[in-house]
């Protein structure tokens, strides 16, 4: 995983400095008298009283490497085959088999990339625009049901609904070759992801992510990932395939 870490550090450090629209004033943000965003102001709400999720968000980077970073290792309820595969992938031993190493994004790692994403709510559909891979998710809120026998996709199929102040996104149909994290936790074609978006205040949000995959784990398990709002900036372009030099240094088949 060393090349990936180098790539991330270099991009984060070098990209923004020369990019454009990196300093815009995001409208609608509460500010302190000196003009700084007040990120602990109350959660904004729409006319229906539900929290607004719009904004540019960045996840705590540790979950990309290890989705179970806040758990005791023995608390991840692996099925035996899943634990064996996870162990086999340890320390980058099978790095080449991670689709992301070939510039293929997938869920659930997409949410955990160390680059920001923008949430835009529209009637019937919520968009997530990801700086990482310059790609997007559509989460449908028009009442449609999840497909019954979906054609497996890297991002799966997602529908969202409100439960109190939680925006709950259910996703199925994810290709089984994606990894849950860079550490290599696997999943099966039975994976059902449940993301509960909880905006705590203006500048902070949690995603309670439940991994429900009875073929790979003996019971559903949940992690809490924290995000912060990134005000007064804009997404940059990120094209993974351009001048990609990592893959040749990764090991595995």
């Amino acid at each position: 995983m060393l090349p990936r870490i180098i790539l991330v550090s270099a991009l984060l450090a070098a990209g923004p400095a020369s990019a454009q629209w990196f300093h815009v004033t995001t409208p609608g943000i509460p500010r302190t008298p000196d003009g700084k965003p007040n990120l602990t102001a109350p959660t904004p709400r729409g006319p229906d009283g539900k929290p607004l999720l719009n904004g540019i968000w960045q996840m705590n980077g540790k979950y990309l490497q290890n989705i179970a970073a806040d758990m005791k290792p023995e608390d991840v309820p692996y099925q035996p085959w899943a634990e064996q595969l996870f162990q086999a992938r340890q320390n980058g031993a099978l790095g080449k088999t991670d689709p992301a190493a070939r510039c293929i994004p997938g869920m659930p790692k997409l949410d955990a990339l160390p680059y920001p994403f923008k949430i835009i709510e529209t009637p019937g559909m919520v968009m997530m625009l990801f700086e990482g891979f310059t790609t997007f998710r559509q989460i449908f809120t028009d009442g449609r049901e999840l497909p019954k026998d979906p054609n497996p996709a890297w991002f799966g199929y997602s529908v969202g609904k409100w439960e109190g102040d939680d925006w709950v996104v259910n996703t199925i149909g994810i290709k089984e070759s994606t990894w849950l994290d860079n550490a290599g936790r696997p999943h099966s074609d039975a994976l059902h992801l449940i993301e509960r978006f909880q905006r705590r205040d203006f500048g902070h949000m949690d995603i309670l992510l439940t991994i429900d995959d009875p073929k790979a784990y003996t019971k559903p398990w949940t992690v809490k990932e924290d995000l912060r709002l990134i005000p007064d900036t804009e997404l940059l372009e990120y094209v993974c395939v351009e001048n990609e030099k990592d893959y040749g240094h990764l090991v595995g088949k």
Binding site: Q20, R102, I104, I120, M127, T134, T135, A153
Partner: protein
């Protein structure tokens, strides 16, 4: 280009087994038998501006040659650009085409990529979600100006404004690596693109595209394209890097 045609066929077979392809699009005027009435008037938003939103399907002939409707010689290429274009037209560089290497098509080729795109209007911006490579583009309508000395990128920087019922999108900051089409009309970092989007009726859009690139062309030139609305469907996932087998069959390195 045969490989690309095969790739397009693969897209068709993908569609058959995909999901949410028979979703009923809401707010579509329909005839008595339930079919979409694509010649009904263009819809408008509450503020009176045309509602351009929807899934639009490009006419695929423009991805092959953006100037297909122009007469030979009407693309005002500078000598070096014409020389490059002729070599690319002969297939000598097809393995270098960014699109074939899963690199972004750039603007305006993305408008013509033979896969649909979804346009969404939200306050302050327009977002276009492209099935092609599952990419997106943001067009800002919040009054910001184009950047003065932009970091060059594939999709550039785009701002829009309304001119009557026409959405005028201006873009700069391109990296000069994109081809305007498969036959290989070149671009440089001096490229500026103006796209004028006008929804002529419910099911039809006209896009007038002006290529202003003093690095490659002697004067600005303009083409027109006309995507049609795709109703009762949804974008599919299109991940170019997955099992890509085309490029090794394309052209030969000199």
């Amino acid at each position: 280009m045969i490989m690309r045609i095969i790739a397009a066929v693969a897209l068709l077979t993908g569609a058959a087994s995909a999901q949410w392809l028979t979703t009923k699009t809401p707010n579509v005027p329909r005839t008595a038998d339930g079919k979409p009435n694509l010649t009904a008037p263009a819809p408008r938003l509450a503020d009176g501006k045309p509602d351009l939103s929807g899934i639009w399907n490009p006419n695929p002939k423009y991805v092959r040659d953006i100037a297909v409707d122009l007469k030979p010689g009407e693309v005002p290429m500078q000598p070096w650009a014409e020389a490059v274009f002729k070599e690319r037209l002969a297939g000598l560089h097809s393995y270098e085409e960014p699109d074939a290497n899963c690199l972004p098509q750039g603007v305006p080729k993305l408008d013509t990529a033979p896969a649909p795109w979804k346009l969404i209007q939200v306050p302050g911006q327009v977002v276009i979600l492209y099935e092609a490579f599952t990419q997106f583009r943001q067009i800002f309508l919040d009054g910001r100006k184009l950047p003065v000395d932009p970091n060059p990128i594939w999709l550039g920087y785009s701002v829009g404004h309304w001119d009557g019922d026409t959405l005028v999108v201006e873009s700069n900051g391109f990296n000069g690596k994109a081809w305007l089409d498969q036959v290989g009309h070149p671009t440089t970092e001096k490229l500026r693109v103006t796209e004028k989007y006008r929804r002529t009726d419910f099911g039809h859009m006209q896009i007038e595209i002006t290529i202003d690139d003093p690095g490659a062309y002697t004067k600005p030139w303009t083409v027109k394209e006309g995507p049609t609305l795709l109703v009762d469907s949804e974008l599919l996932e299109f991940v170019c890097s997955e099992n890509e087998q085309d490029v090794k069959h394309m052209g030969t390195k000199k």
